[in-house]
Subunit: 269 residues, 2 copies
Amino acid sequence: MRLSEHVTSRQSQIVLGLDPDPSRVDGGAMGARDFCLRVIEQAAPSCVAAKPQLACFERFGPAGWAAFEDVARAASDAGLLVIADAKRGDVDATARHYAAAFLRPPIDALTINPMLGTDAVEPFLDAARATGTGLFVLVRTSNPGAAELEDLPLADGRLWHEAVAERVHAWGAALPPCDSGLSSVGAVVGATVPERIARLRALMPDQPFLLPGVGAQGGDPARLGPAFGGRIAGALVSASRSVIYADDPAAAARDLRDVVWGAWEAVAG
Amino acid sequence: MRLSEHVTSRQSQIVLGLDPDPSRVDGGAMGARDFCLRVIEQAAPSCVAAKPQLACFERFGPAGWAAFEDVARAASDAGLLVIADAKRGDVDATARHYAAAFLRPPIDALTINPMLGTDAVEPFLDAARATGTGLFVLVRTSNPGAAELEDLPLADGRLWHEAVAERVHAWGAALPPCDSGLSSVGAVVGATVPERIARLRALMPDQPFLLPGVGAQGGDPARLGPAFGGRIAGALVSASRSVIYADDPAAAARDLRDVVWGAWEAVAG
């Protein structure tokens, strides 16, 4: 995954979250597919990656999976990196199957859940190494209740998600970097908790951060400067509902791109 | 989910893990499907439930998803409860889609990941309530590295997974019980850590435990008596590789059923 190269050439750190909700998008699996293809066409010029949400496709069964594959291919054809947002995590024998399911063209990266620990993540690391793909590991999520278990204070003074962050840094060190010194193993960090970002950046100096939670979830993209860690692709800002359901998705993506790019330029100096 | 009724009528606490591995099962999605249908036919008489592993089907894309649906239907037709082993977990808007994908006939229950906390679990609870299905929440997994993050000691003296266990108990209290006082919200607890089971049973008195890790992963089914909590369906023992790849899956399932039933009878007195 040539992440910095993509961000530089596309002049954008925006990830287009493709979460077609059947309460807003008619037509079942094919309706979701057509909706996503249209949004990709409209918003791609202001984005560096697309992030299809597997849940929105799985609910349609086999037809949904076929739609997911069409959407991933269309995003890739539009010049976007493709991040499969599946948040998989299971014991090693099972993780190998998930890695085989997702870490292959046209998919460039996969979101995974770290709860089961290193041996359950290793099959994803092995597959990422073999295929030149990347991972984004959940570290501190963007939902209001994330604090409940992720922020529990440990006996040694860390918060639980800081222990996760240290593992993510170690996992990343085991893989060749993607480019410009950025690790192939990134971190999902909610844009809703800007007060935690500097600390997480210190724990994960080389991880690209995938930041959901702007727009509908309330995160302020203008406050994300510290997330970059001084690297142009250090922070990728994901937006879904606020772009895909906008009256003008092209304009919504462009506006968000400009705010985030401005936050980058302010810290790049 | 009438869990105790099923265990009583089938005289078994065994969950047939259906994890067809393409390195051992030829023929792609249809090969995996046919293999599972054959194993169900052979082993079902000694089992109370089947647990198809989504990863093994997803790796075949749309055809794999169709195979999963055939396998789930066949297990249900054979009189087994169907536990979709998908370990999903995501923010609430996304969790709603996963709940719609899985908490519907012929599926009786779904495994989920608790890391994101209560608000991310609520859509699954709502769907389980509406459809009369159940959940099994990861609490302490069976893999060798599970201790790394799940067993981290908290500042208040608990282990992290014990905090998860307390949440699972609370989540279960919000749903009508399945039967015999057992909660519709169960817990995944590795059979590989018998030394933790009594403590987890105390924290989750009403949860059915789904215990993976016997057989290939080394857990001893004869040591699981304390897991039952005095209820016939308090402990469901899952086995996959040690049954499905046995020379005689029917005999392997029957032997495991007898050992676990013996462990139950020993504690039932």
